[in-house]
Point group: C2
Chain length 504, copies 2
């Protein structure tokens, strides 16, 4: 192994260990451990940073001359080193302190629905994040510097026009849907035991290809996927005993993330191409959006499809015979795809979810640009929720205070949820063209062909390519909302018995 | 915080993280993760070593001038740095390679009961370990250098005379016992569900003071306790559905270890006085033997006492009404204290356990001294088992190949099990003298007074004192087998209805 490879492996080992510290804290750790765990995490982060900024690592990266993968890795390492060096240590320290205070303040403010109590912290976070954007550098818009942390190469200007088109489409489709009769959903809220939910969810995750010899499922307050190399890729979910779809589709979603990580090429293991050097964690996926494309694809395109329930509803019914005795596969499919505007992002359906995202992105872009002030946020938020979703926001806890993201400085990550939806549709369309009888295989409950296509064109590359390069290679197209909008339109017109335009 | 304190905290954080990597690998990790986990562990160990051998850490330790605890910590750090520097890097590398090969060879040899296949690996391990002892340095016996890694200050000469007296006592008492009728034990092997065993074991662990807000219980192939600071102290056990005492007393044993860690003084958190710098892991207990004294005390002195079951047998019976319907507390107490020579150390009873230990210590001391050759081991082993336990060893898998220790280079750790028994009796005797009505409180199922005494005199000090200093401070005596032998003699004469000498 080259000196660059050896040092990269060491960095990846530390990042995997940081991931483990985080996984354990969220799934296993007793409550008393939180304070010292925070210290352990800070120490390991510091060590990772020192290893990256070791002049010998920079020299090794500069001299790296292996195969193409090593060259790409070396360039990524040098870019990250450059970025880290541009951020003043003082700013990093201030950000860490401000985040810690802001998270506490946010949690209290949300409990009390007291935006004013959170406002000064948010102002401080916006100010520091703007300074971070300046330090990292950008060409057009300061928000681009932040986007780049999650979705390398994506620009605010691209988002703006893309989101404009999405919003117009979604709002119009939502109005059509709201004029139609609602499907029945009563049976989703019957009693479903946690144990049986877990058994089934894990069964479906394995069906689509999640390898439990390199994974496991745990419970946590907020579901997530995390990996310590492709050989150990874990997912979590949460259960509600009176709401079946939560864990069922949540696990398929996280399994979609996990499929990405488990199918990164083995030769990228312990390399920079399985490491996020700026986020300081181990990850094999190319970007947040690319990752989300996989989770959404398996959750929605596969899991919420009519084909899926035509094949698997019998199994579901066999585990919950009493609860689902009076339900047909068609009714189940319609129920788990019901569209209904709601106040809370994480509870939103497939169509209105993007509207929640776009509202946040619009606001945070303006915040970072200095075009709106923190004090104006509740009014802006509530007006947009009324305009897009037709809902009155009763309090800030269910409005502008609902998400943790801004208190943790994650400005720039929200767009990746919707980008993931768009990319998922592009990948699925390309797979449909490439794979013979893809729809036939899905109708038979065979997920290997789709997974193999994704592995070949997306997963195995790890972080070798930018999302833009990956899209071009896999689909021949740039980021393009066409397939996504066609999919949504066809799906929901079909489900709600609306008038069909010509199908794509 | 001083520079020494800051750097010590960083080292302790890394050692706690190493502990977490190990805990996870043994309790949670999917099988596929083992190879990359080994790499992560090796990387973190290397980082811990580099932090310790950083000249700036040595300088900080040399200049440390805080309170007494910091002075003691600085001395321990300098001693460890000195020891590490004396061990050639080449030897460390050779040992790591030899261990890895020897463990694989041992596992196969044990499966096939083929000592000859393991012999060359053991010869190599003995040779390298002898070189390690020479590098670390000693005054009297090379084995002392190894003992020092687990039981600082203990000498082979001390062990030899101590073990001579113990062996004579144990063998004589065993002969008395074997002439008496055996207690009934049939009910121990009825069906006990894992879930109920777990509930009860955890209940008893909490009764003696194990704090679950800073701990948790998992299952693992080999039971252990491990901590990531006093705020997160975890234990594991294994369950057999047809043998009740295994998990029940196993959990009390591990809870005894955990009580030590959870009650180290908070101000030692993240310090050198909660770090084993040579073993490279985080631990608050003063030594292996001191730790074992706590686990044995809670498992045997408390958990296997008549008083314990007079108070708690009703609860046990309420969880297992069918299984224990025909059993009295007295019968239960007699059954879980049955003495019967057996081939396997980890299944041995309280009395014969020491005989297993002494046989191993005698052999490994002679190996390290070059007084016996590896090829002679099976014969030596079998002869000693016959002499002490009266048993014929049917094959080496159930004889000299049964323990993993020698393949992993843990020469010098075996004595600490018996040292723990001896120290436990000394601590218990001192507590009985210091604490008013200690026996009354135990008879009422109140464990706070005993735990408080141990916290005050043992636990809270962490690794501030050597085991020898700790014994002197807590009991006013040096290591002394008197209380232990009195305890065993009285207990088993009583249990087996043997003729009593005057009680202590």
């Amino acid at each position: 192994m080259s000196e660059f490879g050896r040092r990269s492996a060491e960095i990846n080992d530390v990042l995997c260990t940081l991931n483990l510290l985080g996984w354990d804290a969220r799934t296993q750790m007793p409550s008393g451990g939180s304070e010292t765990r925070a210290a352990q995490t800070a120490t390991l982060s510091g060590i990772a940073q020192r290893l990256m900024l070791d002049p010998a690592f920079e020299a090794a990266a500069t001299e790296a001359a292996g195969d193409l993968a090593e060259e790409v890795a070396a360039k990524q390492a040098l870019d990250a080193i450059g970025a880290l060096k541009r951020v003043p240590e003082e700013l990093t320290r201030e950000l860490a302190l401000a985040k810690s205070a802001a998270q506490d303040a946010w949690a209290k403010a949300k409990t009390n629905s007291d935006f004013a109590a959170f406002a000064p912290h948010l102002t401080r976070m916006v100010d520091l994040t703007r300074r971070l954007a300046d330090a990292l550098g950008y060409e057009e818009h300061p928000y681009d510097a932040l986007l780049n942390l999650y979705e390398p190469g994506l620009k605010s200007s691209t988002l703006k026009s893309l989101f404009g088109r999405l919003r117009a489409h979604h709002v119009a489709l939502l109005q059509e849907i709201q004029a139609a009769p609602e499907p029945r959903t009563d049976f989703l809220e019957r009693f479903y035991s946690v144990e049986d939910q877990r058994t089934l969810a894990l069964e479906f995750a394995q069906l689509v290809g999640y390898d439990l010899s390199r994974g496991r499922l745990d419970a946590s307050a907020h579901p997530f996927e995390i990996s310590f190399t492709r050989n150990d890729v874990r997912i979590t979910t949460r259960y509600r005993e009176t709401f079946l779809p939560g864990a069922l589709f949540g696990v398929l979603h996280e399994a979609g993330h996990a499929l990405y990580e488990q199918n990164v090429a083995p030769e990228l293991t312990r390399s920079i191409l399985a490491s996020d050097l700026l986020g300081l964690y181990a990850v094999g996926g190319a970007s947040f959006g690319t990752h989300e494309s996989s989770s959404r694809l398996w959750e929605n395109r596969v899991g919420r499809s009519r084909a899926f329930w035509d094949v698997h509803f019998g199994r579901l019914q066999s585990v919950f015979p009493a609860q689902l005795a009076d339900v047909t596969p068609e009714e189940f499919h319609r129920a788990v795809n019901r569209v209904r505007p709601s106040l809370i992002r994480v509870e939103a359906d497939e169509l209105t979810y993007d509207l929640h995202i776009m509202l946040r992105v619009e606001i945070e872009t303006a915040l970072i640009a200095g075009e709106v002030q923190v004090a104006e946020l509740p009014e802006l938020w509530n007006a947009r929720v009324k305009a897009d979703l037709g809902l009155d926001v009763p309090d800030d806890a269910r409005g502008v205070l609902q998400d943790i993201h801004w208190s943790t400085g994650y400005f720039g990550s929200f767009p990746t949820y919707t980008i993931g939806n768009v990319m998922a549709a592009q990948f699925f369309e390309a797979a449909s063209e490439d794979v013979e009888d893809l729809h036939g295989s899905l109708a038979r409950g065979e997920y290997g062909p789709l997974r193999d296509w994704l592995t070949e064109h997306v997963y195995r590359h790890g972080r070798t390519f930018t999302p833009h390069q990956l899209l071009l290679l896999a689909t021949g197209r740039e980021l393009d909302e066409g397939p996504y909008l066609t999919y949504l339109t066809n799906k929901f017109r079909d489900l709600y018995g609306l008038e069909q335009e010509a199908k794509a």
